[in-house]
Symmetry: C2
C-alpha cells in the first residue's frame, strides 16, 4: 500500500487550501458529461466505433492497404459526424517493413518449430547456428557469441525496464552473433509472441519468441544440452512510404487559437486487430469529442471557448514518427498555440483502483490545477491519481517545450495491457464493459475544463 | 462468500465430536511428510522430473513416437528409483488421429486466416461455404444450416457446461451443415485455440477457433455481413494403435493386497508440452510416492501397511480409455482389492484458498474419515475442503463400484487451468513455485494415512 499512501499524501500536500472557483465551477457540467458518456445516450458508441473499424479492416500496419483504407474510412466518418477542420496531413519517408513467412526451428536437441515474430526492421536470413541462451546483457562478457544465435530469456521486470532486450540485435551483432531471439517483452504470452520495434538497420535477423519456449531453451541450456536453431526469415525492409495523421476538432468559441490536444495513434502492428494498441485510444478520444459536440448542441456550457483538437497519429509503432512530424511542422505556427497535450496509448481501460493515473509533465502550479480537475472526477467515484512522469510518448515534444502534458495510465495499463500488446491477441476481447466509456469520459472532462477556464492550466 | 460458508458449515456438521485416533495419530508423521516435500530435501524434484520429461519429448499424443519414448523413459526412471512392481500394461485398439496442416480462412467479407485447431477425430475436407454464426444450440431451430459452416460463438459458463459445443459436429451434420467451427472451450485464449475430443466418427470437419476470432465473426454476423469461410483440412483418423499404462508402487508391509491408488495420465494432446495436462499430475504423484519411499528408508512409520500404487494412464484424452481398460482387466482379480482411488488432472496447483477441494465420491462415513485426514492437512496451513462429486474422471469405474474416490481440484483448477488446457501454451510456465510440491504433499499424506489406518476409509 505504500505507493497508494504516497500518492494520497502527495495529493494532500499539494492541494490548495482555498478552492479555485475557476475550475470548481465546472463540477456540475463535468458530472453531466460523465453521466452522458458512461450511462446515457453517449455510452456504447466507442465500442461500436472501434469494433466496426477493427473488424472491417483488421490490423493497420504502416505501409499496408489496411491502414490507408482505415484512415480513409475514419476521415469519412468524422466528416459525417460534423466535426470542424477534419483533415489529414501527410507524413513522408516512413520506413516500410513487411513480414514474411518466417521459420524458427530448433533442430537440436530435438526438432520443434518455435513460435516467433520478427522484430520491426529484421532483415531476411537463412542460417543454422548453435544457440547461446542468456538471461541478461551482463552475461555477454562470459560467453563467446561469435557465429552463434543469441537467445535472451530475460526476466520480466515491467515493460520499460525489459524493453531493451528487443533491441539486442544492435549489441550482439557487434560481438559477431549471427542472429538473436528475444523472449517476448511480456509477463506471459500463452504461446503468442509479441512483436515490436528494435531491429531497424540491424545486419542480423532478430525475432521474438514466446515466454514459454524461451524458458524451455533456458532450461535445456542449463542442463548442458547443445541447442541448434535454424532461421529462415523472409521478412524484410521495403523502402519508404508515406502515411497520414488524422486531425479533427471543435473550434473554440472565444479563444480558438488556444488548442487543447487529445491524441492516440491510428496505426498498429500487423498482428491482431490493433484494438488495444491503439484503436481503443482513438475510439475513446473520438467518443470524448463526440459527446462534447452532442451535448453542446443543446447546452452552451459544453461549447468550448478554446479549440479541442484530436489527433490520430500514424507511424507511432516505428518510433512516434507521426506525432513528431506534426509537431515539427507546426511548432512555428503563429496563429495558434497548444495549451495542453495528452495521449492515451497504454490501455483505454476503466480505472478500477488508485493505481490508475494521469502521468503528468509540467509545473507544480499546473499540477495543482490538474489536481482540482481530477478531484472532480474522483468525486464521481472514479479512482484516478496524478503521477509525475517526464516521459510523455507521442506528446513528448510538447512536454519538452513546457506545455502541460498527460499520458493516461489506468491500473491495467501496467501489466494486463502487456499480455495483449503487439500480439495476435490484440482483439476487441481485451476490453471489458465500461473501459472505453470511462476513458472517454475522463478526457472529455479534462478537455471540457481546460478549454473553458479563465486561466490556462 | 456463500460457497465458502456452505463448505465451512457443512464440514462442521459432519465433523465427529470425538476424535478418531485411528487417523489423528498420523498428524505428526503427516506434518513431517509435508515438511519434507514442501520445504525439505524432497522439494523441487517434481519440477525437475517434469521439465526434463516435457522438454526432452515435447507433447505426448496418442500414436506419436514422443509418447512411446516418454513412456520408455519414465519407466526407466521408475526402475532406477527402486519402486516395486514397475511395469506397463498394453492398451490395444486405440483410435489414432493425426493433425495435418489445416487452413481455416475467412474469404468474405475480407480475407483473413483464422487460427484453428482441428478437434480429435476431425476428417479431412476441402470446401468453401457461407457461415452461420450462433451462440447457442437453441438457435439451430431458427436457422437453416444446410450446406453451411456453423460457427458456435457460445458464452463461457465454466468448462463442464460449455464442453458440449466441442461435440457440435454430431448435431449439426444431421441438419446438413458441411462443417463446424467452435469457439475454444476457455474463458479467454490470447489468440491460442484449444483442441480436444469431440469429432471422432464425424462426417464433417470440426475445428476450434480462438475466442477472439469467434467473437469477431459473431459481431460481423450481427451487422448482417455475409461471411464465407474456406476449410482445407488435412487432419485425419489413422486406424488404431496400442499404448501402455504405467504402474508402480510401494508394496504394503502388512496388507499388500489392499491397494491405495493414486493416478494421473501420461498422454497429452499434440500441442504445447503436456506439462499442465497432465504431466503435472504425474510429476506430483511420482513425488508423493518417491518422498514416502525416501522417508521410509530411515523411518519405519512411513512404510505403508497397504500397497500404495501409482498409475499413469494412457489414452485419457481420447475418453479415459487407458484407465477403464485397466479397471476392466483387473476387476475380477482375486488376489487384491482397491480400498481408495484418486486422480489429479485439473491442475497440480498449490491450494491458495478454500475453493480448493478434494472432489469426493463415497459414503458419508467415508467422507467423515477423509475429513479427518483433510483436517490434518488444514492444520499445516493448507486450505482444502471436501466437496461431493460423483464425477470422478479416470477413476469413475472405481467410484461406480463404491470404492471411495477423490479428484483433486485446486482453486486454480476452476478457471486459470482452462486458459492453458489443450493448447500450445501448455508449458512449464503454467506452474508457479510450490504448485507441484503442495499437490504431491497432499496426496502423500492422504496415501500415507489411508495405507496405514486400522480400518480402511
Amino acid at each position: 500500500m505504500s505507493l497508494y499512501h504516497s500518492i494520497f499524501l502527495f495529493s494532500l500536500f499539494f492541494f490548495p487550501t482555498k478552492a479555485n472557483d475557476d475550475i470548481r465551477k465546472f463540477e456540475k457540467s463535468s458530472h453531466q458529461l460523465l453521466d452522458y458518456i458512461i450511462k446515457g445516450n453517449g455510452s456504447g458508441i466507442a465500442y461500436e466505433w472501434l469494433s466496426n473499424l477493427v473488424d472491417e479492416f483488421g490490423p493497420r500496419h504502416l505501409g499496408s492497404e489496411n491502414l490507408d483504407k482505415a484512415i480513409e474510412s475514419v476521415v469519412h466518418g468524422l466528416i459525417n459526424d460534423g466535426f470542424d477542420n477534419v483533415h489529414t496531413e501527410e507524413v513522408p519517408d516512413l520506413p516500410k517493413w513487411v513480414r514474411g513467412d518466417d521459420v524458427v526451428e530448433m533442430i537440436e536437441p530435438r526438432v520443434q518449430r518455435l513460435k516467433a515474430l520478427a522484430i520491426d526492421g529484421c532483415p531476411p536470413a537463412d542460417l543454422t547456428a548453435e544457440a547461446v541462451v542468456l538471461t541478461d546483457f551482463q552475461e555477454l562478457k562470459d560467453h563467446n557469441v561469435s557465429g552463434k544465435i543469441v537467445v535472451f530469456a530475460q526476466r520480466w521486470i515491467g515493460y520499460s525496464k525489459t524493453l531493451k532486450y528487443r533491441r539486442a540485435a544492435y549489441t550482439v551483432q557487434e560481438l559477431g552473433a549471427v542472429g538473436v531471439l528475444v523472449k517476448s517483452i511480456a509477463p506471459n504470452s500463452l504461446a503468442t509472441p509479441h512483436t515490436g520495434s528494435g531491429a531497424r538497420g540491424s545486419r542480423i535477423p532478430a525475432l521474438t519468441i514466446t515466454t514459454e519456449e524461451a524458458d524451455m531453451l533456458k532450461r535445456m541450456s542449463n542442463r548442458g544440452k547443445k541447442i541448434v536453431i535454424r532461421l529462415s526469415v523472409k521478412s524484410h525492409p521495403d523502402g519508404t512510404v508515406s502515411s497520414r495523421n488524422i486531425l479533427f476538432e471543435i473550434r473554440g468559441s472565444e479563444r480558438p487559437s488556444e488548442v487543447v490536444l487529445l491524441s492516440a495513434h491510428i496505426d498498429s502492428w500487423d498482428v491482431g486487430q490493433g484494438a488495444l494498441d491503439d484503436g481503443g485510444g482513438c475510439a475513446a478520444m473520438w467518443n470524448a469529442l463526440f459527446a462534447l459536440k452532442q451535448l453542446a448542441d443543446s447546452n452552451p456550457v459544453f461549447v468550448p471557448k478554446r479549440t479541442i483538437r484530436v489527433a490520430f497519429w500514424t507511424a507511432e509503432e516505428q518510433g512516434l514518427i507521426g506525432a513528431r512530424y506534426y509537431y515539427e511542422s507546426h511548432k512555428n505556427d503563429s496563429h495558434e498555440r497548444f495549451v495542453f497535450a495528452s495521449e492515451t496509448d497504454q490501455g483505454a481501460f476503466k480505472p478500477l483502483n488508485w493505481f490508475s493515473s494521469l502521468e503528468f509533465a509540467g509545473t507544480k502550479a499546473q499540477k495543482r490545477r490538474l489536481n482540482e480537475i481530477v478531484e472532480i472526477i474522483n468525486k464521481y467515484g472514479i479512482p484516478l491519481s496524478i503521477l509525475i512522469n517526464d516521459r510523455q510518448g507521442d506528446v513528448q515534444p510538447w512536454a519538452d517545450e513546457g506545455i502541460p502534458s498527460v499520458n493516461y495510465l489506468p491500473d491495467r495499463g501496467r501489466e494486463y495491457y502487456f499480455r495483449y500488446h503487439h500480439t495476435d491477441a490484440d482483439y476487441m476481447n481485451a476490453f471489458e464493459d465500461g473501459d472505453l466509456e470511462y476513458t472517454a469520459a475522463i478526457f472529455a472532462v479534462v478537455a471540457h475544463i481546460v478549454a473553458n477556464t479563465e486561466d490556462v492550466l
